[in-house]
Assembly symmetry: C2
Homo-oligomer: 122 residues x 2
């Protein structure tokens, strides 16, 4: 019954990490890919991490396939440029369940890194 496992045992995958952020963004307001990308790039630049646009889209498509999000193509009035793909949460329960899963992996990863710092630098 397990779908694709999100964790290989070591640290969380970038994909899952981004899916989590995307879910949180979309829960707040209706957003589309580029917008989220710019947000995240800005947020993580100070940490030396800059997600690529293709990863964002792959994450978005994953969430579609998972049945967690739905997509509508819309001609935004404000934005001068054509169609954007606007996402919203389709299945709140699944979204919540997924986030819970990712949280566990984040917690685990934090412990792993902490342990490594302790074991090797003290």
């Amino acid at each position: 019954m397990t779908k694709k496992r999100e964790s290989t045992g070591f640290l969380i995958k970038q994909r899952a990490f981004l899916k989590l952020y995307i879910l949180t963004s979309i829960e707040k307001e209706r957003w589309y890919g580029m917008q989220i990308l710019d947000e995240l790039k800005a947020a993580f630049r100070p940490f030396g991490y800059e997600p690529q646009h293709s990863e964002i889209y792959r994450a978005l498509h994953d969430l579609l396939e998972d049945g967690i999000l739905t997509r509508k193509k819309i001609i935004e009035e404000g934005s001068r440029y054509k169609e954007v793909a606007v996402y919203s949460v389709k299945n709140k329960d699944e979204a919540k369940a997924y986030k819970k899963l990712v949280k566990a992996d984040l917690d685990r990863g934090e412990q792993l890194l902490r342990k490594a710092l302790k074991d090797n630098f003290s």
Copy 2:
């Protein structure tokens, strides 16, 4: 002058993580692959992470290529089974420099995970 980059911007790679642990193990006493593997497996099992033997060997070989470790093949008296490859630190300065580099990546990763927990669960 930068060799293969150890970090792709996101979290630290398993390889670098293991190389760090290997260096620390070898600094303490003369050890060989399987021994380190068993150690690490035991240490990380509670965290749901179990490194594979091939990754350990790859990490060891990397450290050889980096010029940080040297290897001698030895017939251990105690161990009933033939040759083992025993490693020791060849270049202490490079070892130190490498560990410093990895530490930075661990710190960064911890911040990233912390931020994700904060941003998405609070």
